[in-house]
């Protein structure tokens, strides 16, 4: 029996997997672009059919490309690794604006000074190890914990080398903070002077418009003058889910407790325990019969002595 006719009949039921159009295919992104000109006749005759056949051709081409990739087997079945994408997707967000230069950066760029990154670690000859340049166990604190320090000849009587080193280090930190703040302030000021000036003028205009006896109500309106709008307050919707609300209010409560934790700790040291578990002062007062913790401790130690004495007597 000749099965070839049967096979032929079976194959004829499905469309050919061959696609006779050129497509741009990027298997990495599973992307097909059909750059062929639209067949006007087919498009006019039946739009749906035309679109469907175009889409089918594209998908067929993509699948053919996928099946031509090298395939290896895995526990989940045969797997093909997609190549790296070649199509360049456009950027979703605009490019970040360049940061305003600091004073030093401006100077360095004018003088052509290259920036070199310092390592965070430096080699310590004594320890024979890499140590932090600053921070925890930093090299910059080295002078502060020496057991012996050379005192300069003209030093004061109460010269403390460790303290001196520490104040010097703190001064450097303070100077850096000051310079950083100045840089931030400068950057703030330099942020588009034109725009800030415009805002300033607008706010001045707004305040003058309502600076009349009727607060601007009966003033002559100019053409195209806009209504003054205040700040619009925005609140949570009233029908927010109660579970969410409870969570947020518990978070606020935790924040409040955090801020008052210091106060509570002090109160606890006084014995007025905010911790609700044991009021230490009250407990001590009760146990000692109002005589205080010292007498309690003393009586406890004498009690011990007494018991041992009794034992000896027996």
């Amino acid at each position: 029996m000749d099965v070839s006719t049967l096979l032929q009949a079976q194959n004829d039921k499905f469309k050919s997997i061959e696609v006779d159009k050129e497509h741009e295919i990027d298997p990495g992104l599973l992307l097909v672009s059909d750059l062929n000109p639209i067949d006007a006749e087919a498009h006019e005759a039946n739009l749906e059919d035309h679109l469907q056949s175009t889409a089918r051709d594209g998908v067929q081409a993509l699948l053919a490309a996928l099946f031509s990739l090298p395939i290896h087997s895995s526990p989940d079945g045969p797997v093909a690794k997609l190549p790296a994408p070649t199509y360049e997707l456009p950027r979703a967000k605009p490019l970040p604006k360049p940061k305003p230069q600091t004073k030093w950066e401006r100077f360095a760029s004018a003088k052509g000074i290259q920036h070199s990154v310092k390592d965070k670690k430096v080699w310590d000859e004594e320890k024979q190890d890499w140590v932090n340049r600053w921070g925890r166990y930093g090299k910059n604190k080295e002078l502060e914990d020496q057991w012996l320090t050379e005192v300069p000849a003209n030093a004061d009587v109460d010269f403390d080398p460790a303290k001196d080193a520490k104040t010097k280090r703190k001064e450097v930190i303070a100077k850096n903070t000051k310079q950083r703040d100045a840089n931030l302030a400068r950057a703030q000021k330099a942020a588009d002077p034109k725009e800030s000036r415009k805002k300033e003028i607008e706010s001045t205009l707004q305040s003058t418009r309502k600076s009349t006896a009727s607060m601007g109500k009966f003033d002559k309106k100019l053409d195209g003058e806009k209504k003054i709008r205040g700040i619009k307050r925005k609140f949570e919707p009233a029908e927010v889910s109660a579970a969410n609300e409870r969570k947020s209010s518990l978070a606020i409560l935790a924040g409040l407790e955090g801020s008052s934790a210091k106060k509570a700790r002090r109160a606890e040291q006084d014995g007025q325990g905010a911790s609700d578990v044991v009021n230490v002062r009250k407990a001590v007062k009760f146990a000692s019969g109002g005589k205080g913790s010292h007498s309690l401790a003393r009586s406890a130690s004498t009690q011990k002595g007494k018991t041992s004495f009794k034992k000896g007597k027996r």
């Binding site: 009233a238 409870r246 518990l250 606020i252 409040l256 007025q272």
Partner: protein, 180 residues
């Protein structure tokens, strides 16, 4: 009617925490039903979720009250507790003051609690602590703020003020027009 903003919530909680301390979590995190705080015409209401959802459908000018009024925000953003909150404060109060029968009427007319009228006080009450005032048969009458800590009260003369009056149940009659 709207939920409180974060700032308003903070103000409210600090005020309540002065009276009920950490028990405040019991008000927020209830086992029976979810309760929430809602602001309506500057007043804060403590209301169950189901009642709140029913009240949503009432127009703002028509809504007079819902749940329990805890107090109101002043125009400067401070929070003032109302006597209607007494039920919850008395339930969870951390520090309490009991006054003798002869001191009940003066307190209910809006006077401060003097030492002569003091029956009992929670031990170790600090100064300027929010307290709930009870009569000797444990009926809450109002609340106030202590003028002195418990330790300091011993040496005072009988006319010295111990608790500054803040609110009492007499307000239900005295401030009937403005309270609700």
């Amino acid at each position: 009617m709207r939920p409180l903003t974060e700032e308003e919530t903070k103000t409210l909680f600090t005020k309540l925490a002065n009276y009920i301390g950490k028990n405040l979590t019991q008000l927020i995190d209830r086992s029976d039903e979810d309760y929430c705080f809602r602001l309506h015409k500057d007043r804060v209401f403590y209301v169950s979720e189901s009642a709140m959802r029913l009240a949503i459908s009432v127009a703002r000018p028509n809504l007079i009250s819902l749940g329990t009024c805890f107090g109101k925000f002043s125009k400067t953003g401070k929070f003032k507790l109302h006597i209607t909150a007494l039920d919850y404060l008395a339930q969870y109060a951390k520090y309490k003051v009991w006054i003798k029968p002869n001191g009940e009427m003066p307190f209910l007319y809006g006077n401060h609690v003097v030492k002569a009228h003091l029956g009992r006080i929670t031990e170790d009450t600090p100064e300027h602590q929010g307290v709930v005032v009870y009569n000797m048969s444990d009926i809450p009458l109002g609340f106030g703020v202590t003028a002195r800590s418990t330790a300091d009260t011993r040496k005072l003369d009988p006319t010295a003020i111990l608790v500054f009056h803040q609110s009492d149940v007499g307000e239900y009659l005295r401030d009937e027009d403005t309270l609700f």
